[in-house]
């Protein structure tokens, strides 16, 4: 068994997705509200608060500059949280995965279903965030609508990375490490709240080579401003390749953890 075996999947994978969707729909009001409030809070404190001291940034208002970053962060947080803490609870405390693999479904299908659901959470979050930003006139249409399908792809990437951490975490507390060593630095240094070009050149290269959020921000900003960034294609390819690698890795790591 290697770390990059290609899983054999059937349509049953969606039943795991459906299970999570059914749970989500039972408490949808609780699930919707934070997703709706979070971009508002950022927008008021940073966009209109801090933004008051900034005349223009790369030729646009500060609020317009950070609007796509707020979507990218929402995409990252929802998929990553779903496939770390939420998946860990289902796997470890609720034994939900054990219950499902006693049916015709395989562990590969369970994990893939979880990943697809993580990606879906990102899309749901994006669909909630876009109108908030649109209400303040911060994003261009119709190009911004492309962020909706894009959020599924980007969310899938963060889901697979999160699932890798879930597979190697001995307990739920150790999931805090990727939160503050990986997610928080990305949140701050991926061209989110200031342009990447302000950083020292070697760090710029590192951020572009290693931080997935950098690429998600590049694409999201290209779409909300309706003006493509020179690296947009590279970012797209980067996200696809990384998704494939982390997808295979996450499924195989989970298999190693759960099949004994």
């Amino acid at each position: 068994m290697s770390y990059f075996d290609i899983p054999k999947l059937t349509g049953s994978t969606w039943k795991v997705w459906l299970r999570n969707k059914d749970v989500f729909m039972k408490t949808y009001m609780v699930n919707f509200l934070p997703n709706f409030l979070q971009p508002l809070l950022y927008l008021f404190s940073l966009g209109f608060g801090v933004g008051n001291f900034i005349n223009q940034i790369e030729g646009i208002s500060y609020a317009r500059f950070i609007a796509p970053a707020l979507i990218a962060i929402a995409i990252m947080n929802s998929a990553f949280f779903e496939c770390t803490f939420a998946s860990f609870v289902r796997m470890y405390f609720q034994k939900t995965f054990d219950a499902i693999i006693a049916t015709p479904l395989t562990i590969e299908e369970v994990i893939t279903g979880e990943l697809l659901w993580g990606a879906t959470r990102s899309t749901i979050n994006t669909v909630i965030t876009l109108p908030v930003l649109a209400a303040f006139g911060l994003i261009e249409f119709p190009s911004s609508l492309l962020i909706i399908p894009f959020s599924f792809l980007a969310g899938f990437l963060f889901a697979t990375i999160g699932m890798c951490f879930t597979a190697i975490s001995p307990n739920i507390d150790s999931l805090n490490y990727p939160m503050f060593l990986f997610i928080t630095p990305m949140f701050l240094f991926s061209g989110t709240f200031f342009p990447l070009s302000l950083l020292p050149v070697p760090i710029q290269y590192l951020a572009t080579a290693l931080l997935p959020l950098t690429h998600v921000v590049i694409i999201a900003r290209s779409l909300t401003l309706a003006s493509p960034h020179p690296l947009i294609l590279l970012s797209f390819v980067w996200i696809i390749l990384a998704s494939v690698v982390f997808f295979l890795l996450s499924v195989n790591l989970m298999k190693k953890r759960l099949i004994v």
Binding site: S12, K95, T103, I259
Partner: protein
């Protein structure tokens, strides 16, 4: 697992007994195609467990040792979601769920959440869940562990009913009474090996005899028993005499040797179990 060999016939109830760590659960997980076998042969309905997992799992109903009901759903939703994993159409599933909830006497609890169920109700719901796909083989890993006598008897009663309807059932337990009551045939395992296999009553006869006479452990009693040529075993403060003629032994101990504390009782599967696996504690 080492040299474990067994065959379960269709329509019978087959038991795996053994102390903790004997390999019962591992055997169950291999039958369920969850733990892969690294050597040897294991086939379920003629299909190899390493190559036909999906086909085999479709035919199984599983009651795991640990409760793994979905706490995010109600009683009814648990069964509905589970039916979906087996591709059972919703209308068929709804009808089946009503039948099953009546069968395990949870018809009144449809809308209850899992945390509000008692231990016995959770076990019954898991049994119902295991039956959702009309399994050809039902596997129960410690089905009544931690239940009160009422709940245990209800589960036993349901299992007997299933057996009488021709279901094939495999179960593990360390309640010897449970095994004696339910199983047509059983094996006793220790440290990944099978020690004996047979029908409960025959195993008792073969390894212990029909009866047991217990006396207080004293040099006089031992001298007396040696004089009679009886087969006995000493465990702590008591001597256990394995015999087919308890009246004779009891009479001799009471009258000829004038011992005070003597009890005679029927031999049980527990005596076989302790004789074969020893009295050492397992952790």
């Amino acid at each position: 697992m080492d040299n474990v060999s067994f065959t379960v016939d269709e329509g019978e109830m087959f038991g795996f007994l053994g102390p903790n760590g004997a390999g019962k659960t591992t055997t169950m997980k291999m039958i369920q195609c969850i733990s892969p076998k690294t050597g040897g042969e294991l086939s379920v309905f003629g299909m190899d467990v390493n190559t036909h997992q999906r086909e085999i799992k479709r035919l199984l109903g599983i009651v795991p040792q640990e409760n793994n009901l979905d706490p995010d759903f109600t009683v009814y939703e648990n069964l509905l979601v589970y039916a979906r994993y087996f591709d059972i159409p919703r209308a068929v599933a709804e009808k089946k769920i009503d039948e099953l909830l009546d069968f395990v006497q949870l018809g009144e609890k449809k809308g209850t959440t899992i945390v509000q169920l008692s231990g016995g109700m959770k076990r019954r719901l898991i049994l119902a869940r295991a039956l959702i796909n009309d399994p050809r083989l039902l596997i129960l890993d410690e089905p009544t562990v931690g239940l009160d006598p009422q709940a245990r008897h209800l589960i036993w009663d349901r299992l007997k009913k299933l057996r009488s309807q021709g279901n094939t059932i495999v179960l593990t337990t360390h309640y010897l009474e449970e095994a004696a009551q339910l199983c047509d045939r059983l094996v006793i395992m220790e440290q990944g090996k099978i020690l004996v296999e047979g029908k409960p009553a025959e195993l008792v006869l073969q390894h212990v005899g029909t009866d047991i006479v217990e006396a207080e452990n004293s040099p006089e009693a031992i001298a007396c028993l040696d004089g009679l040529g009886a087969k006995y075993e000493i465990s702590g403060e008591t001597i256990q005499v394995y015999t087919d003629s308890p009246q004779k032994i009891t009479g001799a101990l009471l009258e000829d040797c004038r011992l005070g504390q003597v009890t005679a009782r029927r031999a049980t599967l527990e005596d076989v179990f302790l004789k074969l696996t020893g009295r050492k504690l397992r952790d």
